[in-house]
């Protein structure tokens, strides 16, 4: 077990290195630098700026310099936020994304798993078709359709939640994270519901469940204690991609609800060609995804003794 974790943690290094290198050279081969759009700057000023940020050195020197800084967890200064370093921007914006993401994750898991179990237990009955149709609707109604509708209904009409923004919104009963999280969470709840139903149906058809029934174990205990453990395996395997999706999905909800999270910062940095911020956020996202994949693998190992060797 520890060997597996250690192995995967070692894998994290080449993956992050590849992400970093790819992104770094991608930003170097495209025309146009961060200061080429500055209208009033004279060539001398631009040359000074380039010298200040080390952009006048050969690319391989820039690359090695950057790499040696990243190893020390220093992503350098941001070009657009003159007073903030990339680390500070991430430190300011990520907690916001994390709140939304975590809440969305809980919503997705609770609603999705519950709906999936109910559907599997009532296979081919109304209580199967109903949650599954709703979940299909959830998959097909993307966050950027659902988000504006929620903002309209809960924000403008019912005045329960803020329509947009993050800071200083205490005049409404709901925290500003709630609506983005619900929007994001419902989409993933739909996927999790389908996965749970499939996994539960597989398990409920197996011999050990029949044995348990024959022994007279009560039905709710069969489902909660015996079937759920195996039935949730496909869901656990999905948690890694799910978290990745929550991050990338947050680009959309953060735009819809105008939340100053890391997704917004990333989009802004890409538009502004703020290379250190782009590189920093990409590497940060990459590390998060790899770590979450690792966590979901470990949970899978804990739940499923068969996959341990």
């Amino acid at each position: 077990m520890i060997k597996v974790i250690a192995g995967r943690l070692l894998q994290l290094i080449p993956v992050l290195w590849i992400i970093l290198t790819l992104t770094f050279f991608m930003t170097k081969i495209v025309p146009g630098g961060p200061f080429s759009a500055e209208r009033q700057a004279t060539p001398e000023v631009i040359a000074q700026l380039n010298a200040y940020y080390g952009l006048d050195k050969p690319v391989w020197q820039q690359y090695l310099g950057y790499l040696s800084k990243v190893v020390r967890f220093d992503f350098g200064p941001s070009y657009t936020y003159q007073s903030e370093s990339v680390n500070e921007v991430i430190g300011r914006a990520f907690p916001i994304s994390l709140q939304i993401g975590t809440l969305a994750f809980c919503i997705a898991l609770v609603i999705g798993a519950t709906a999936g179990v109910i559907a599997a237990v009532n296979k081919n009955k109304l209580l199967d078709y109903l949650p599954m149709s709703i979940s299909m609707l959830g998959i097909c109604l993307p966050t950027f359709v659902l988000g504006p509708i929620f903002a309209l209904v809960f924000g403008l009409v019912l005045k329960l939640a803020p329509v947009s923004g993050w800071y200083g919104l205490n005049y409404v009963p709901l925290h500003p994270a709630v609506m983005p999280a619900v929007t994001l969470g419902l989409f993933y709840a739909a996927y999790i519901a389908r996965l749970t139903r499939g996994g539960m149906l597989d398990i409920l058809n197996q011999d050990f469940i029949r044995t348990a029934r024959a022994k007279g174990v009560p039905e709710h205990e069969i489902i909660l204690r015996h079937a759920l453990r195996g039935g949730l395996l496909p869901v656990v395997a999905f948690l890694g991609p799910c978290f990745a999706g929550l991050i990338s999905g947050s680009f959309v909800v953060e735009k819809v609800f105008n939340v100053p999270g890391l997704g917004q910062e990333f989009i802004k940095s890409v538009f502004n060609r703020d290379y250190p911020l782009i590189l920093g956020t990409v590497v940060f996202f990459g590390a998060l995804i790899v770590i979450f994949n690792l966590v979901s693998d470990v949970v899978q190992l804990l739940l499923d003794p068969r996959s341990r060797n």
């Binding site: 993956v15 950027f144 403008l156 959309v252 990409v282």
Partner: protein, 365 residues
């Protein structure tokens, strides 16, 4: 071993006389029959076909162009009556412009409310109203879905947007399938070290933050239409390669392939008659499920302003525009969202149905 007819999804049900008397049921015919029993999947198929035909042919018949603007019309509601304003000038042709009936009263802000209402009623009843050098009368123009804030016909824009969304969806899926099938089949066939290296590479790619990379590609290399689906296709092929590889490996060692080899069938016949048709099922299922995913990704990019650029539209662009004005003109969000959701719905239902139809194991459920 029974010899069956050439694989075709719409195989003729009547046996051809003289060719072979006993005719087995092919995989595709079985699948087609099973699919026909699945009403939801059929509904998905027909809905999707309908939307595709509408998007392809519709823009020729709406009578409006997707990019010509009519500023004075602004965002008129669906099917609202539209007033034609003709301004006679001293030189040249009279100038014609359109405005929505509901905004007619705003033209005469200098008059009393009662007078304004009277003018509106007069025009509404089909009479002409003259004021100075301008004449107002009801036109027989109608915009079924209304117009956007620039006065462009929403129906035409939604259909043109559908073309773009579907084109990106299918082109990007084709790119991803081409890469995925070749990569997966090569890895599966080769086996051993080559397989390990190829799949480890795919594993590493799998850990990359995809949406982030597509966004980067789109911004760095310009918002180019071709690049859009190449970029999406280039990140969506991983699942396909895994599925194809798994299937090829499983099939390679099965008895029916052994039997085919021992019967002395040539390698190409084993490939095309036995291996490929079996994998084709998964490819088709996965294609149907990839298209909606790709369309979703395209829409997300367009929604963020990184995909298709105005005046060209796509469903993502339209939903983005609609969500900005949803308080005052909700139809601008409603119609594109319905089109988009319905397409995703039908493709997902079709994909699920195809999975049940083409995978005999799953039909037990």
């Amino acid at each position: 071993m029974r010899d069956s007819a050439p694989a075709a999804p719409f195989a003729d049900p009547v046996p051809v006389q003289g060719e072979s008397l006993e005719r087995g049921s092919s995989l595709w015919r079985d699948a087609w029959l099973r699919l026909q029993k699945n009403r939801i999947a059929l509904f998905g198929l027909w809905t999707f076909m309908l939307i595709a035909i509408l998007c392809l042919g519709g823009p020729f018949f709406t009578g409006y162009s997707y990019e010509s603007t009519e500023i004075s019309l602004k965002a008129s509601a669906p099917l609202e009556r539209i007033v034609l304003r003709t301004e006679f000038r001293k030189v040249g042709e009279p100038r014609e412009s359109y405005l929505a009936l509901s905004s007619l009263e705003d033209e005469f802000l200098g008059r009393s409310p009662a007078e304004r209402r009277a003018i509106k009623e007069r025009v509404q009843n089909g009479n002409e109203f003259r004021e100075g050098n301008a004449a107002y009368r009801l036109s027989n123009q109608r915009h079924v879905f209304g117009t956007d804030p620039l006065g462009r016909d929403l129906l035409t824009r939604a259909l043109i947007g559908g073309r773009i969304s579907l084109a990106v969806g299918f082109a990007a899926t084709l790119v991803s399938i081409a890469i995925g099938v070749v990569w997966g089949a090569a890895a599966g066939f080769a086996g051993g070290k080559v397989d390990t290296v190829m799949m480890r590479f795919a594993d590493i790619l799998y850990a990359l933050p995809f949406t982030v990379i597509v966004i980067l590609l789109m911004v760095m290399f310009g918002r180019n239409f071709v690049l859009l689906f190449v970029a999406i296709g280039a990140v969506e092929w991983l699942n396909m390669s895994r599925i194809v590889r798994g299937q090829i490996i499983a099939l390679k060692n099965q008895e029916f392939i052994e039997a085919a080899i021992s019967l002395g069938l040539p390698a190409y016949r084993i490939m095309f008659r036995h291996l490929i048709p079996n994998v084709m099922g998964s490819i088709i299922i996965y294609t149907t499920l990839t298209v909606p995913n790709v369309m979703l990704l395209e829409a997300v990019l367009s929604f963020l302003g990184l995909g298709v650029q105005p005046p060209l539209s796509s469903w993502g662009v339209l939903i983005d525009e609609g969500s900005r004005t949803m308080e005052t003109s909700p139809w601008l969000l409603f119609f594109p969202a319905v089109f988009f959701t319905l397409t995703l719905f039908s493709l997902n239902f079709l994909g699920d149905g195809l999975r049940d139809a083409l995978d005999p194991k799953s039909s037990k459920d």
